[in-house]
């Protein structure tokens, strides 16, 4: 039998399996005196798209290695639909993975890699795979050694999305993709969600996470510091607004969502805005605004802004 034609019921039965898609209890990984992952408790239900955020070195990839059984936890446990992550033969029938930095066998063509991964993986929908090859504009006839970073990533993404595994574990899967492919990626995630597949998406791209995730967890220095819905995450956003005006200074202090008002020069004001901008814009309009600049802070800035004060007191690692 051609192994690539195998399909598994996969997602449809995901919810009926032994537990949540991902369940970490007290998950800890120490390398000598360094603690990469520290007492992580996490529960991702079947069918949810979960964003796993954090700056570089926060422990995202280590957590995924523990989840995949590539590394053994120093303490605690990780389970995939109730199956111990260390039992890879059973746990990996329920998941597909895209690593952060995809390395392929240089002599195999893209098509051959896809064939191998379908034959060894948890079951593949070959018709959907062929559709994904078209959508991601992959040339599958080229040897992997000639692929760019983005093309190698596409091969792994196509292989993972084409499975019907009820959990997709994606580690920074779009870092090498161009904006068009990034859009295809978001579509593929949405389709996976429609099929009931859970997606565990590690990223440090806030826009991507906002676009596709139901909930996010924020990891810092190996500790999970926040698990929130994306709506809650949006409320963390503080947009920085700068305006130049010719009229009287706008009255901004006290308006809802406006903070840190600062006059940077005569006729110039800067403030942060959270939530609906209507009141602030009305106030600015009265001041005859001549220029307006709105800058969304980077994820890093949000981390610093939100956790630097009143948090655990630790600094975000560079």
């Amino acid at each position: 039998m051609d192994a690539t034609t195998r399909t598994t019921p996969g997602a449809t039965t995901g919810a009926t399996r032994g537990g949540p898609a991902v369940h970490a209890v007290g998950l800890t990984k120490r390398y000598g005196s360094t603690t990469a992952v520290d007492d992580l408790h996490l529960r991702v239900p079947a069918g949810e798209v979960f964003g796993f955020l954090g700056p570089n070195g926060a422990g995202k990839s280590t957590t995924i290695r523990l989840l995949l059984g590539l590394a053994r936890p120093s303490a605690g446990s990780a389970r995939v639909f109730g199956v111990d992550a260390a039992d890879v033969e059973r746990a990996h029938r329920l998941l597909a993975h895209v690593p952060a930095d995809v390395a392929l066998w240089p002599h195999l063509t893209g098509a051959e890699v896809l064939h191998l991964l379908a034959a060894t993986g948890p079951g593949t929908d070959t018709a959907y795979r062929d559709e994904l090859v078209e959508r991601f504009a992959l040339d599958p006839g080229k040897p992997a050694r000639t692929y760019s970073t983005g093309n190698r990533q596409k091969v792994a993404l196509i292989a993972a999305f084409a499975t019907r595994a009820p959990l997709l574990v994606l580690d920074e899967p779009t870092s090498g993709l161009d904006p068009l492919m990034e859009r295809e990626f978001r579509r593929a995630v949405a389709q996976a969600r429609q099929r009931g597949q859970a997606v565990f998406l590690s990223s440090h791209q806030l826009a991507e996470v906002e676009a596709v995730c139901d909930r996010v967890g924020i990891l810092r220095a190996g500790r999970l510091v926040e698990v929130a819905s994306v709506a809650d995450l949006r409320s963390l956003h503080r947009t920085e607004v700068s305006a130049s005006y010719t009229g009287a200074a706008p009255r901004l202090s006290g308006l809802a969502g406006v903070e840190a008002v600062e006059t940077t020069a005569p006729g110039r004001v800067r403030f942060t805005l959270t939530g609906p901008p209507g009141a602030a814009l009305a106030s600015l309009a009265a001041a005859d605004v001549t220029a307006l600049a709105v800058r969304e802070p980077s994820l890093e800035e949000i981390f610093l802004d939100y956790y630097g004060e009143g948090g655990s007191g630790e600094q975000v690692r560079p």
Binding site: L116, P122, D139
Partner: protein
Amino acid sequence: MTGLAWRQVRRGALLVVLLAAGVPALIATTHGRVFADPADVAGLRAIAADPAIRTLFGEPLALADPGGFAVWRSGTVTAVLVGVWAALTTTRTTRGQEEPGRWTALLAGPVSLRGTTARHLGVLALLSVLAGAATAAALVLAGTDPAGAAVHGAGTGLLGLFATAVAAGTSQLFTTRAAASGAAVAVLGAGLLVRMVGDGVGELSWLRWTSPFGWVQLSRPYAGDRAGPLLLLVAVTAVLAAAALVAAGHRDVGEGLLAHRSHRPAQRGLLGSVEAFALRRCLRPVAGWSTGVGAYYLLLGLTAVSVTGFLAGNAGVADMAGRTGFTGLDRVEGFTAAVFTLLAVPVGAFAAARLAAFAAAESDRRLVLLAAAPLTRLRLLGAEVAATTAGALVLTAVAALATWVGVAAAGGGLALTDALRGTFNTLPVTLLCLGVAVLAAGAGLPAVTALGCLPGAGGFLLQVLADSVDAPAGVRGLSPVSHLAPVPLRGVDWTAALVMTALAVLLALAGAAVHRRRDLRC
């Protein structure tokens, strides 16, 4: 950048320099003992003059001289050692770094691809010079004629330089390290074969002028000390190195001069399971190693009749041969038994290299996609071990077939079953190599190839050294090769074979157990 190159080669370099310098010097010191008895001397001269022995060891130029004796006994081995090491180290540090993209960041700096290549070649050239200088110095310290020592040292070092230049060239031609290494080793192998034919067949002795190994021999260390052939070697090496550097300036990073097909239809054979895939990756290496092993044993088969016929007619010489380390050589079975015991060296190295490739797939993260599939660690490792074992069995059978064909072509009589018994007798040592390599790869240790070669190549070297210096039997007994019975001359030593096989299985099981528990590096 030269520091980077040095860091990658220093350990292997130390070992090669020690062996290249130590082995001839040790043999030179045994000269007085071997030459104490005039009857022995006559016997040795008779053996050395035999065309078949000339084929293997080269022309005996100055056996009466301690240095000349050492050159005859060890010159070919050390030249091959230095040459192959220099070639493989060159492809490893140049194409082997460029292929996975490790040079990209390096080349973003002010130094060009040509400059980077030149700096690496400089370090590698220095090491060959060092090996040659150490060889000469050790031979002088062993009390041989300084002029002869200088010529032999220069020849050894120059052969290393030649190999580096050839490998630098193949690294420009091919996009992969494997292809570059294979081509460079093939050039050296062809050169050695040409030298062997030139030495073995009187009418073709001019052929030696077409081979770098021939030039080294024609420099006649301790027997005239001629610089001409060495200057020819210098000139050819310089031309090759210059061509490689010119080529490096005219190609794109990551590409080779030989165009490769950028597009091809999918070949889906042997991609259906992790075991099949391991076998698929094994096919090319098995074909390459089979060619080398087959050619070598074909040559030995062809010479077997001549050597044994000569020894059978000279009982005294045969007796003497027994005392200088060649036992039972007056029958084809005895001669082939002696050369079959060497088989564990290349086949063990093949096994070690395959497990090293498995370890490399882990460290450069190719293994992640398979490790994320529903496959236990045991299956991932087991697939590799199974494919490697199958490859080793093929190589072992190829050696027997090649020897059988060679003996038959030369008009001798060796049953194919005897040839097969002889080569498969070495399997326990090959399995020991595999066992050590599995343990090394399973535990995530560096230098899997070197560790896996210890029972085979290491054991063989230990035995040669122990024989050369009359070391106590216990030292010789440490070598697994010393426990192989001379099959087909005599029967298999089943006790030793079973003990070694059991030990190999235990090592592999230990490797699998460690591999199952540890964190993968990908």
